[in-house]
Structure formats: structure tokens, C-alpha cells
């Protein structure tokens, strides 16, 4: 949902967010609060996209992560994803949406840092409320699915050893203190809106999740037996099934961020797919060369790297740019996995930072070059200013890159600092966020949830 596009496609803006916008900072004229005519094509697509993105978490991500852990912990991972989905939904309705995507907060102008309270508990939402030319209810739910998957991504960092109460408390606080502000900065009318290019969440979703995951993993400590006696993924087949669902769902994630059933959505879908396929093959070939065999877990991890990396760029690059992004994702994320686990020695168990964090940031930075008109079929960067005669001046790649980098750094900084503080608070409440050694050995399925993943006879 890039705030401003420099072409004919409709700007995907929460129309209420524009009320307090200073017209110099946006390329599109402010939308008045008149009765917008409902476009049923856009509405139908956005409802569908919403379902696709929810499907990414339930069960896509759950299965992807579930297959990677030991069998004695599979249910706990599914539980984390499911519970976070439910929790994030309620928080979104209560305060999240309002803080992330409605104007207000600290200061009246668009350079504010957090949204307002006008939509707490969606108090001003009616069946007829519109966001552009489709219902506000759909927009809110669509955005909700993003608010669901982002904390769910962090699950990968703390599997097999975290207390369930800590998961619930952490996710609650993190959503409000990290996700909502960053979402507001980039999409809600905040300081990056209209400036940074982040079509579907390279900064908002992947950078925040990745940086927070790394911080949390570092504070939580390594799993028992790390790194010498770790167990391999208990169900690589489940990992592939999850990854496949993520791929399909990602069409909703990126193409849905066009907020319209139009050419922009179509192109976003196409480049998303190209990046996924390219990254998968590149990862597979690297692994084949380095280890002697092309693995299934490897190729599907490449897929996710490709998808995460194209996410911020999916509204700005063309097919050729997508190939470059996919290839880069496959290479960079492959080596990032080894770097974080071996060089940094942090047990980010399911490589959230290496795949989502690094991928999201990589794509966010690359779009400054690959999105430029002319470069490998780029669709154009954001508008810097609109002259009196209506001519739009677009940022140069260098300028855009600077903005992209600022966005990444700010998101990472908030993520790291806030995660650190939240973990300290949650640790104080729960008496330490890590389970006992005995429980970790027994497995969280039994210890935390009283259930057995595979009762075979």
C-alpha cells in the first residue's frame, strides 16, 4: 500500500488519514469526505486478498514453522501462531487500527509519530464507511491480517523454549508499541508516508519482525544442545506445505496492497511470483554447490526470502527488476542464515532475521534503484514535489535510497529498543520468559499445552 503512486492507479490511502495532510507532501489531491462511489470490483478483490493474507498465517506460517521444530514442540508452534492471530485481531479492533492508520496522535500534522483514538473499538465504523471506493470494514480487516502476521513471524525466534504467557504478553505490547507506530509512519500519514516506498511491508512487517526477532532470540538464549546437538526439522514436508501456502497467500499480501483490482495489482502479483521462483532456484543451486545436494527445506526457504524481499518493491518494479530482486534475495539471505547463527552466535531458531529481516531491508533498499523508471522496467519512484503547473518531480535514486535507509534504520531502532524493554517487563511479570530446563527437555507440547502432536497408537 504505497501511499502515493506516480501513475494512474488509484492511491491506496485511508481517506480519513488525508484530512490533516499538508498538500505539499502528497502527490494526489486530498480526498474529501464525500460519499465515494463503491467499486464492486475493487471491493471483491480486497475481500479476497484479506482472506489470502489471513491464510498466510492460518495455516501457512504455522505449518512452515511447525515442520522445522522437533516433533515434541510442533503443537506449541501452531498454538503460538493461532493464539497470536486471535490476540492481534482484538488488539487491532480495540486500539491498533486507530493508532496505526488514523490521523491524530502527537501533533496535528502528517509528521506525527502515532495515530489517534478516533477509531478505538472502531466506534465510527458503519456499513457505509468507505476507504476510497471500497468499504472501510474491508480495509480495516485487510490491514488486520498484516497486524496478525507480523508478530506471528517473530515466533520463529523463540520456538522450543519460551513460556506461553510470555508469548501472549510480548505480542500484545509489541503490536501496540512497535507495529502500530511503524505502520503509521509508513502508511498512516506519518513522517514516511508518501516519501518511503514500502508497497506491502518491507519496513512495516519484515524489518520490524526481523530486528525484533534477533533481539528477542539474543535475550532468550540458545536452545538446549545448541549448536552441537540440535535436531533436524521433524517434518520437512510440512515446511514445504506451509511455504506453498505462504506463496499463494502472498498474492493477497502484495497484489492486495494495490487496494484495487487493476493493472498495479496484476503487476504486483506477477513480480511477486517471479521473485519467489527466482530466489527458490538460486538458493537451491547455491545449496547444491555448497553441500552437494539440493534440499527441500532449502528451496522453500529461498522462496520465502524471495517473497519477503519483493514485498516493499512489488508496486514499483517490473519483471526484470523482480528477477534481480529474487536472485539477490536467494544469495544474500542464504549467507545471512549462516552469518547470524555462526558468526553472531544468536539462536534465531527459524532464521526470522536472516530471511524476513534481511530480505525485507534488502528489497526496501533495492527498490530505490530498480524502481526508477527505465531501470530494468521500473515503474517510477515517489514524487518529491509537484510544481505549480502540475509537473511532478520524482526523487532521484540516491534521494529515494536515503529515505529508504532512514525508514529502515528508524524501524530497526524502534524494534530493537522496544523489544529489549518489553522483554524486560514481560520477564519481570512471568518470572523469566524462558521455560525450565526440564520443560524444555520434555517438550512444550506436553509441558505447556498438555497435548501430544502425534498419538500414533
Amino acid at each position: 500500500m504505497s501511499f502515493a503512486q506516480n501513475n494512474e492507479t488509484a492511491s491506496q490511502i485511508d481517506s480519513t488519514a488525508l484530512q490533516t495532510v499538508d498538500s505539499e507532501s502528497k502527490s494526489t489531491p486530498p480526498v474529501e469526505k464525500e460519499e465515494s462511489k463503491l467499486n464492486s470490483g475493487n471491493t471483491a478483490w480486497m475481500i479476497t486478498a484479506t482472506a489470502l493474507v489471513l491464510f498466510m498465517t492460518l495455516p501457512g506460517l504455522a505449518l512452515f514453522y511447525g515442520g522445522l521444530v522437533q516433533s515434541k514442540n510442533v503443537l506449541s508452534v501452531l498454538m503460538h501462531c493461532f493464539a497470536i492471530a486471535c490476540l492481534a485481531s482484538i488488539i487491532w479492533v480495540a486500539v491498533g487500527y486507530s493508532l496505526a492508520l488514523t490521523p491524530g496522535g502527537l501533533g496535528e500534522d502528517a509528521r506525527g509519530w502515532i495515530g489517534g483514538k478516533s477509531q478505538f473499538f472502531l466506534q465510527n465504523l458503519t456499513t457505509d464507511s468507505m476507504n476510497g471506493d471500497f468499504p472501510d470494514s474491508v480495509w480495516i480487516t485487510f490491514q488486520m491480517t498484516f497486524a496478525i502476521i507480523t508478530p506471528a513471524l517473530i515466533v520463529g525466534a523463540f520456538v522450543e523454549r519460551i513460556k506461553f504467557t510470555a508469548v501472549l504478553l510480548f505480542s500484545t505490547l509489541w503490536l501496540i508499541v512497535v507495529y502500530c507506530p511503524v505502520c503509521y509512519w509508513v502508511w498512516g500519514g506519518g513522517w514516511l508516508t508518501g516519501k518511503a516506498i514500502d508497497f506491502a511491508g518491507g519496513i512495516v512487517v519484515h524489518a520490524t519482525a526481523g530486528a525484533s526477532a534477533l533481539t528477542l532470540a539474543w535475550m532468550l538464549g540458545r536452545r538446549q544442545g545448541y549448536p552441537k546437538s540440535l535436531k533436524p526439522p521433524h517434518n520437512p514436508g510440512m515446511v514445504m506445505m506451509g511455504a506453498a501456502m505462504l506463496w499463494v497467500g502472498w498474492f493477497g499480501f502484495n497484489a492486495g496492497s494495490a487496494a484495487a483490482a487493476d493493472g498495479s495489482a496484476g503487476m504486483a502479483m506477477l513480480v511477486t511470483h517471479i521473485s519467489a521462483a527466482t530466489a527458490s532456484l538460486v538458493w537451491m543451486f547455491i545449496e547444491w554447490k555448497k553441500t552437494g545436494k539440493p534440499g527441500l527445506v532449502g528451496i522453500v526457504t529461498g522462496t520465502i526470502a524471495g517473497l519477503a524481499t519483493i514485498t516493499p518493491a512489488s508496486g514499483s518494479v517490473g519483471p526484470m527488476g523482480a528477477i534481480v530482486i529474487g536472485a539477490s534475495a536467494g544469495i544474500v539471505c542464504y549467507f545471512a542464515c549462516g552469518f547470524i547463527k555462526e558468526k553472531l552466535g544468536v539462536d534465531d531458531s527459524l532464521d526470522v532475521a536472516a530471511v524476513h529481516g534481511v530480505g525485507g531491508i534488502l528489497g526496501t533498499l533495492m527498490v530505490a534503484f530498480l524502481g526508477a523508471e527505465g531501470t530494468l522496467g521500473g515503474l517510477g519512484l515517489n514524487v518529491k514535489e509537484t510544481l505549480a503547473d502540475g509537473t511532478e518531480i520524482v526523487y532521484t535514486s540516491g534521494e529515494q535510497f536515503s529515505i529508504q535507509a532512514q525508514g529502515c534504520l528508524a524501524a530497526i531502532a524502534l524494534s530493537v529498543v522496544a523489544t529489549f524493554i518489553i522483554v524486560k517487563i514481560v520477564g519481570a511479570i512471568t518470572g523469566g520468559i524462558r521455560v525450565s530446563e526440564e520443560d524444555e527437555t520434555k517438550g512444550l507440547d506436553q509441558a505447556a499445552h498438555g497435548e501430544n502432536g502425534y498419538t500414533l497408537n
Binding site: 549448536p227 540440535l230 535436531k231 533436524p232 526439522p233 545449496e287 553441500t291 545436494k293 534440499g295 527445506v297 532449502g298 526457504t301 542464504y334 549467507f335 542464515c337 549462516g338 547463527k341 555462526e342 532464521d351
Partner: protein
């Protein structure tokens, strides 16, 4: 009576069962096990991290036979389970004090 405990490669189970059947031994108990002797394990690599798998899947076949059948059984199992590669397994013979058929109460050789 002797308990003959054989640790063999899993894919050889059918061959051993057939060979025992040919010499008149129809019953057995099979246990799925894992282990190693001189056969080395292997390494699996996921996302750049190495996982060493020392234990290999094996199958244990337990049969109890009368003393006079012991040599024929050892011979049959050995021939059927052999691949002439490291990891073919071992056969152990233990003395059995008593045997009982639960359904009828028969004891000793009649229970076998």
C-alpha cells in the same frame, strides 16, 4: 531353549522372515531400533547448519527356539541378512529358562 536376538538392516527383514519360514520357524517378534557399530552415521544440512545423525535405523528380530534348531536358525539369518557391507548386524544367543503359551498354559518346548 535359546533366545536368538538378531540386529539387522531394516530392508532385510522380509528376506530373513522368508528364510526362517523355509526352515520351519514361523513366529517372531520384531523391534524397531536404532544403533551403530562400525558403520558411521551421516550429516544432514538445513539452512547452512549441520546436523550429525550418529544412529542408524535397525531392526531387532527375537525368536525363541529349541536347542537343536539353534545352528540352523543362525545359519539362515546370517545368509539372508548379509550384504557384505559394514552395518549388516549381529546375532546373539541367550539361554531361556522358561517359556509359556498364554492361551493354553503349555510350557517348555511345547510352548514354542
Amino acid at each position: 531353549m535359546k533366545l536368538i536376538k538378531s540386529i539387522i538392516k531394516p530392508f532385510k527383514l522380509e528376506d530373513v522372515k522368508d528364510a526362517l519360514s523355509e526352515i520351519g520357524v514361523e513366529g517372531m517378534t520384531v523391534i524397531e531400533a536404532k544403533g551403530f557399530g562400525r558403520q558411521k552415521g551421516h550429516t544432514e544440512i538445513y539452512r547452512g547448519s549441520e546436523y550429525t545423525i550418529d544412529f542408524l535405523p535397525k531392526v531387532i528380530i527375537e525368536i525363541v527356539v529349541s536347542d537343536d534348531l539353534t545352528d540352523k536358525v543362525i545359519d539362515a539369518i546370517s545368509k539372508a541378512a548379509k550384504t557384505e557391507k559394514i552395518g549388516d548386524g549381529k546375532i546373539f544367543v541367550l539361554p531361556v529358562e522358561q517359556a509359556v503359551r498364554i492361551r493354553t498354559g503349555e510350557q517348555g518346548d511345547e510352548a514354542l
